[in-house]
Subunit: 314 residues, 4 copies
């Protein structure tokens, strides 16, 4: 299995998987199968499950294990699967990481929890958390201050990279964050540090700009993963302006899906309209779209279809 | 069992139970037994388990069930047991409430989670949460903005009391909060509303003042529950100045235990020194006391013993 | 002057004016003159000065008076000028409002300050603040929770509209906020309330969607005000798809300028490149753009020019 | 005047001065005179004006200058006066510092403002702010995360001490904060750093414990400054238990005055009852005490008088 572990060379589009539920809020594993198949068909380079946008915190430990088991069986090693293991207690975090890795995950994702304020507190937590998952488990460090209130500075990130070889990937979604990418690259080059993979989030809102800043890809959950894949491919082929053109056609929708609080409901609604998941609902408590929202989404989808390319032929 | 359910007449000292762990962080049920025995012997009028100070969020669902089962068996109906059921998802919240009530709990406690800002959002959440536990389950509504960031105004609380007959008790720990108690009482009297039981928290830092404001008791976790019980008894007997005198002797320690962030570590250390729990540690991640802290605690305990009464004869 | 006061019929684009400083951080009134001239030439329907994006909090009272005086003299009643008067103390707020109105302002803008949590607290503050400016002064209520931490619910807003006839305009920048606009319109229509003007912020990130939700215009500060004016005009003429098309061409730039923390530095840099202000710097402490940022902005401006229309011919 | 500048040997009780207003909210300079006289008579070792508890942010620049002028004239060099100069813009901060120092202040106090998250951001701000006041001006760095949301770690504080010789005093009010004092002392001793004066805040809630942790005194605003002076004196004379005894007699009142949000209203009410200020009100917007609050304060004051010593003979 070691060959499947992610490392600093991770790149491309790691899609953040939604977790489908039925109308009663139960796990819908058939939809999960379709969703995973859809992601693979879209050409993603990896899948991340049980992230915040996978409503991981609303699943019991048993449900989390069922999701891990189901996704890993279906992916069957074709592409790497990263498992979010954030939990209030480190024992639970470690147990979930064990479960994930024993099922064949390529690594785990950890977000420092709310309540950490100083660099010293964040460093202390990340060290403990990384210890909890074991020394041979690749770690994706999630930097998402809008959700966690935890702010990771470049000097602190560099310290963590030096101290903790398990950290392989930065899931970058600080905002503003473009300069942060450049600073990480420059300080690492200047000081001869490991070059960590940077995969960007924020629904891809700044994706081609971030690639130009030398990010290695995206780890996010836009409902048109084929668009992210295509932008990444064109950018990597050197067709930078084409990558931007393609991206800009979808930007009205990306911006719409990236609205805080309601974004996941929009994303699931699109996945539902595309016939991938059987039911667009989130687990309670969660936002719901109303008729005005749905009409608005119709408008935006129509406009993207009229302006955009192959990715919207559904 | 219906006779054991709490209602608006709840009063006295409902102690918030710590959850004991062994050195490896595993549940220590033998210590839990001793702790429950100690609380009962101290004369508490009720016990609340799986609150924030019970590190509930660091327990798995299975561990939570084991704690519920163990405590309810030992208490055996002698005094009411309230079970904290807060959880990120309402399904989990409801499942834990079912478990608790089927084992003989007297009610459940719910704290609105972080992220609710407006009165409308808070009202929406509390309605959903109360629905999730079922119409015949008494609810303690926890008002603890310092921990949750959720602020419950008096007009909103009154609305909730009118709309949701299951709400029987307000666990009050807003700060400043003395005027809030008076306003709740006055508006309820003026408008002929139900008189809800108010049990105060904040480690008891304002306990006799709150009793004078017509609170009905405390629901908090000071490591000398016998002191809270005695203050309550004297106050209720009309010996108000004696109640204050007794309380003031312990105030240096109450203030010390009430420090945010480190308070539970101090509380568990005292329970450990008193021979009640076998190990004073919190589950990781959590604060630890150092030698200076322990010496400081020695000083404070010595001083309380020298100034104080019967409660410190351990 | 009464004819110049704004009321519930306010509409169109009220540009939030930047405040130009020279390299030493001193007020640059010559640049301010050019900026006001530029805004008027761009066809804006109103100007708002001394908002957060005008760095009002970094100006002394004397400087604020000089800005008011200068802008109002130059505008000379051609279009309405709204003056931001938010201040920690209500006396200062009232004094600034007096100054503004006596100079010929069309109204004042007030944002509830950080620290207000419940509906009751917000209502109490807004009532006091509106009282402080006097009963005949039109008020723009700014709803900007990302900056203030104050969340204004629709029921509370409706209450304020009923209670305070001075409130004429909602500067709407809650996010997500599309549904909020619809709810305000629907509840007002259902209950026969006054129809308040809604002007949207957030740098215009959702502008045509908000117009479709029945917003009346924008009050925001994008560095291409002519684009906002043109989108508004086409939308109002019924050319909805054209309005969207035009907007979408600029969306990559709007999204870029709307980055929190650094957005104003980008905006001022664009105004500087367009030859309008003599110096792009903010008052300290404030963010600065580096070479990578400037190159990135070049790219985005070039792309907008290549795709876009008349507004970028500078 | 150089002899009056504070340095690392600062110690004792620096009282945070309230700013008295009349019923209309105007500066009441006669009351300010009495207040300063009272503080000096109480034996304080220094006075700090224009702090948060002096409602500095609600004063105009002119009013701030008047307060500085009045207090410094009256104190006439008898004891050092520190002036709070925090302001949203660094130019204003620098101008206020110039004003203060030219009038004979002994130093200035700076609190990093809300919005600074990482160690790097805080360091950047403090360096800029200290630069703004000039290289020969002694600086008190205020560490008050409950009010500012800015968290200063011990490693960062040590870095600042090394980098900025102007920092002479830490106004310490982090909470929990006892261990922080010990860590600062230990790391400074271990690494041969400058020993900075530490004066504690939080209304004195942990004062003797902090002295035992090697704080050098208090910089806070309890309405019985003579108590703080006496506790400090006894502690310094080696009468540690007496210092604690005296403190504990006042602790019920200290705890009461230290309630967030309403504390300053209580403090001013006590100063008013003691005949020192003519009017107990705060500038709007601000909390007001009601009849229940006043009766409660009566009770607490009576109890302190009955239990306490000389300081309450007013």
């Amino acid at each position: 299995m070691a060959g499947h572990l992610i490392d600093e060379s991770a790149k491309g589009v790691f899609i953040i998987a939604a977790t489908p539920f039925d109308l009663e809020g139960k796990l819908d594993l058939a939809s999960l199968d379709r969703l995973v198949g859809f992601y693979i068909e879209a050409g993603v380079h990896g899948i991340t499950i049980l992230g915040m946008m996978g409503e991981a915190q609303k699943l019991t430990f048993d449900e989390q294990k069922r999701v891990i088991d189901r996704v890993l069986k279906q992916v069957a090693g074709e592409i790497p699967v990263v498992v979010g293991v954030s939990a209030p207690g480190l024992a639970a975090l470690g147990a979930l990481a064990d479960e994930a890795m024993s099922e064949g995950a390529a690594g785990v994702m950890i977000a420092p929890p709310p309540g950490l304020s100083t660099d010293e507190q964040i460093e202390g937590y990340v060290r403990q958390a990384v210890d909890s998952v074991g020394y041979d488990v690749p770690v994706v460090l999630q930097d998402y201050p809008q959700a966690t209130g935890v702010h990771l500075s470049v000097p602190l990130f560099n310290q963590l990279v030096d101290a903790l070889p398990q950290i392989k990937v930065l899931k970058h979604e600080d905002c503003p964050g473009l300069t942060k990418i450049s600073r990480i690259r420059k300080t690492a080059a200047r000081d001869g540090k490991r070059r960590i993979a940077i995969l960007v989030g924020n629904g891809g809102l700044y994706f081609p700009l971030e690639l130009a800043r030398s990010a290695d890809g995206a780890m996010t959950g836009f409902a048109f993963p084929e668009l992210l894949v295509e932008v990444y491919a064109r950018f990597n082929d050197g067709d930078v302006d084409e990558a931007f053109d393609l991206f800009d056609d979808y930007l009205p929708l990306i911006r719409y899906e990236q609205q805080p609080g309601i974004g996941l409901a929009i994303r699931k609604q699109i996945l539902y309209r595309r016939g991938i998941i059987a039911c667009p609902t989130l687990r309670a408590p969660g936002p719901k779209l109303d008729q005005d929202d749905l009409a608005e989404l119709d408008l935006l989808l129509r406009r993207v279809r009229e302006r955009g390319g192959a990715a919207t032929q559904w």
